[in-house]
């Protein structure tokens, strides 16, 4: 743990552009995030929100520019990545083991997303919103420094939205960085609200 906490998480996106299917996405985007920052990325469908998160996560490579990040990352995107035939608890435990997360962190994540009552139900029986909560719980349990969340509010009821708000605020307050890609305006105080439509950032 000491080595993880020794350096603060940071994220530096420098003049990034990427080609997606013969189309230039994110032409010349630059963003800097320090520990404690929440960055809210907005934009129309297809403007490159998910692409940006996948670039930061290292799943795609940039065509030009640089991305430098410091700290462990966790990603919650449209793919659930939880085995459908096992219980919610077992599916989350698999990833918690991958992340080296403790049983306490796992239980705390289940509680934070109000999944205790669903813990022993197979993942395939979950509703859309419950699936989303399970994938958010995986990010919470991971203890990662940088959270990448792609449309995390989709399908959530208002109580769950409030829980997610609180989880994001807590993570940032504890020195993490949270990137949220969403089509709605931020519901919480953010360090940077970035609109990919016009390519200009307003603090």
């Amino acid at each position: 743990m000491s080595s993880r906490q020794a350096s603060l998480p940071s994220l530096n996106i420098d003049n990034v552009a990427v080609m997606r299917g013969n189309r230039m996405v994110l032409p010349g985007l630059s963003v800097t995030a320090r520990a404690g920052d929440i960055i809210w990325i907005r934009g129309a469908n297809g403007c490159g929100k998910s692409t940006l998160l996948r670039l930061v996560a290292g799943l795609l490579t940039v065509t030009s520019g640089n991305i430098h990040s410091e700290g462990r990352m966790a990603l919650a995107d449209e793919n659930l990545a939880l085995d459908a035939n096992v219980t919610v608890e077992a599916a989350l435990r698999f990833w918690a083991d991958m992340d080296g997360a403790s049983a306490d962190a796992r239980d705390a994540a289940l509680t934070a997303m109000d999944l205790q009552d669903l813990a022993h139900i197979p993942v395939r029986f979950l509703s859309t919103g419950q699936r989303k909560r399970a994938s958010i719980a995986r990010v919470l349990a991971s203890g990662a420094d940088i959270w990448l969340m792609d449309e995390p509010y989709n399908g959530l009821d208002s109580a769950s939205c409030t829980r997610l708000d609180q989880a994001i605020i807590n993570r940032a307050a504890a020195g993490g960085i949270v990137l949220v890609a969403a089509h709605q305006p931020p519901s919480i105080n953010v360090a940077l609200s970035l609109s990919l439509d016009s390519q200009d950032a307003a603090a």
Partner: protein, 215 residues
């Protein structure tokens, strides 16, 4: 290391629950049951050709789990999640191959004991057959993961998988059948060498395929 073991264990569990375990075994035993119907109950003929038939049945059984090896993990985002955690694609492929060796190769070896009894293979040949298959099955496991990675998401993936597998397994089959001859020594060594080369290379080929298909 603990995470690697967890990933291998997950592969084995998915095989147990997803039909990847019993499907190849049942297929393998079905072939060895059907073969005597075709040739008739000629004991000498069965003893001479039975080992080769089990080899071919093992090759074909390799194809059965291909569709569930990579594609479901790509679609559900498991491969992405592993990549975010810093797993190299080669390491993911290695874990999947190790899982295949446990969940596919070992049961097939056990089924060989039953299969050889069904065909009426001489007991002296059973040991040679088991040793040869034990040498070749890691390579077949590696090939099944590699082909699954290459064809994941393509239409007609299973048919394409068959076309890809058959030419690559020719050396395994030639040396494998060679071990059933009077003196299996040289063929066994060549089989071991071929299998080792294929097993060692397959994680890199599968890893490259995983990386190339990430969008």
């Amino acid at each position: 290391m603990k995470a690697f073991v967890a990933l291998v264990a997950r592969e084995v569990r998915l095989a147990w629950t997803g039909g990847g375990l019993w499907l190849p075994v049942v297929f393998y035993l079905a072939v060895s049951t059907l073969f005597p119907f075709v040739t008739g109950p000629d004991k000498a003929l069965l003893a001479r050709t039975g080992g080769g038939i089990l080899w071919i049945a093992a090759l074909l059984a390799t194809l059965l789990p291909i569709e569930r090896l990579i594609l479901p993990d790509r679609q559900s985002g498991v491969l992405d999640q592993l990549a975010v955690r810093g797993w190299s694609d080669e390491l993911v492929a290695t874990a999947k191959i190790a899982g295949q060796i446990v969940a596919f190769a070992l049961p097939l070896l056990l089924a060989t004991v039953v299969g050889s009894a069904l065909i009426g293979l001489p007991e002296a040949q059973l040991g040679t057959l088991l040793l040869g298959l034990a040498l070749a099955l890691p390579a077949l496991s590696g090939l099944s993961v590699m082909i699954a990675a290459l064809t994941a998401g393509l239409s007609g993936a299973s048919a394409l998988g068959g076309l890809l597998l058959v030419p690559i397994t020719i050396p395994l089959l030639i040396f494998g059948a060679g071990t059933l001859a009077e003196d299996p020594g040289n063929a066994m060594q060549l089989l071991a060498a071929t299998s080792l080369a294929i097993t060692a290379l397959s994680p890199f080929a599968a890893g490259a395929a995983l990386r190339a298909s990430r969008t």
